[in-house]
């Protein structure tokens, strides 16, 4: 399957990549290519120019910061899944990364690419929401921080502006929180039919703060605020879990498809999946 020709840039420095994107606003940024290249092969995307970020050193690496970790946009899924720092400080991120695609996809795919692509059934967006992650976006004019809760706005649509690219993800220290990612994968594609990421601060048997990220069921990953509120101030007992789970779709338009999962099925599966996740950490 041949791809339509395109122009190709492979900058060595972030500054050069951002300048290229400013000069060519129609260009697409290439990270691991696990979403963009299939779209191009199927002629669903035909960018005139690709800016390959594979050599940009500033986008690599995972570092500990005073209040958490910073993950470079070009960090690959297999690195996230196996990295000692991520496993210690943000296990929910490592766990979700291990669910992405298959080994070959995890060897190429990146956190920046996955989040910027914003597939409504991708795993990492749910983990970002549960982790209270902050997306670091940069353009030639400077950088800005976008809370994950504001980042995903529609199917394949994010808060990133033209000329901007995702350069890193900042995750607050989550050590000590009860975390879990529960996923029901589509049997053929492996994408989430439903995916629920939870991160709970629990003290004295009482949930102090709850974060629930949901993927796969709506036009974009979202935080289940009503379910979070139902948990906060309560113990993780069966009644509270049932109540919170019943609120997982509150205020959201749940999508259905004719082939595999109707909206009604997904809504039910979401409730079951959140309930399983909460039982897992209770």
């Amino acid at each position: 399957m041949s791809m339509t020709p395109f122009r190709y840039a492979r900058p060595m420095a972030l500054r050069d990549a951002l300048a290229d994107l400013t000069e060519h606003p129609e260009a697409r940024v290439l990270a691991g290519g696990m979403s963009l290249l299939p779209l191009m092969k199927m002629d669903l995307a035909a960018p005139e120019r690709l800016i390959d970020l594979g050599r940009v050193q500033e986008l690599q690496g995972i570092t500990e910061t005073p209040d958490g970790i910073r993950i470079g946009a070009m960090t690959r899924h297999f690195e996230l899944a196996s990295d000692e720092v991520v496993g210690r400080c943000a296990p929910i991120v490592a766990q979700a990364a291990a669910h992405v695609g298959d080994p070959q996809v995890r060897h190429r795919g990146t956190i920046g690419g996955s989040l910027a692509h914003a597939d409504p059934a991708a795993d990492l967006p749910a983990a970002m929401l549960a982790a209270d992650a902050v997306i670091e976006a940069a353009s030639a004019d400077g950088s800005r921080m976008i809370p994950a809760a504001d980042f995903f706005v529609g199917p394949l649509v994010t808060e990133l502006r033209p000329g901007e690219m995702l350069v890193a993800v900042r995750i607050p220290m989550l050590q000590g929180r009860r975390q879990h990612y529960e996923k029901v994968p589509h049997p053929a594609s492996g994408y989430a039919v439903v995916g629920v990421a939870i991160s709970l601060a629990v003290a004295g048997g009482v949930v102090q703060e709850a974060r629930i990220g949901v993927t796969g069921v709506a036009g974009h990953a979202y935080r289940a605020h009503a379910a979070e509120r139902a948990l906060e101030g309560e113990g993780l007992n069966p009644g509270v879990i049932a109540k919170a789970s019943s609120l997982a779709a509150e205020g959201e338009e749940i999508l259905g498809d004719a082939v595999y999962a109707s909206a009604e099925y997904r809504r039910h599966l979401l409730q079951v999946t959140l309930s399983r996740a909460l039982q897992r950490v209770s």
């Binding site: 492979r10 290439l30 092969k41 199927m42 390959d52 050599r55 080994p103 070959q104 996809v105 492996g190």
Partner: protein
Amino acid sequence: MPEQVSTTAVVLTVNGETHTESLPANMLLSEYLRDHLHLTGTHVGCDTSQCGACTVLVDGLSVKSCTVLAVSLDESRIETVEGLAGPDGLHPLQAAFRARHALQCGFCTPGVLMTAAGLLRESPRPSPTEIRAGLDGILCRCTGYENIVAAVGEAAAAIGEAM
């Protein structure tokens, strides 16, 4: 639409041999291996990064060559099924696949072998569960996978004994 395709200079090491190339940016790694180097052991099945028949190793990691641009692999070390057997004959994985009848039509086999080769480097003594998880990215329509899983386990044991 660009009127002419520009090329990009890359240095690629394939099965230990270094190639200095000037390639069109839209050339996939699978196209480079098969059409340019005539290494047709790498098979293209679905061509949509589902089936894994085109899997090769890039810097020791399994990737689907139908979904990687050759030009993005500058200075990388690529291993294909042609490089698997050593001077002493079949690689332990190949020998185990033969002994265990882990193939029928053989179309997916190059990709399965390279996926398994990458798995054994990351995890030299995988459990059957780890083998199944490691082979998640390949599809085989003949074998039902049982013999493949057994062969990979047997090869891991053989490599362990030889060391």
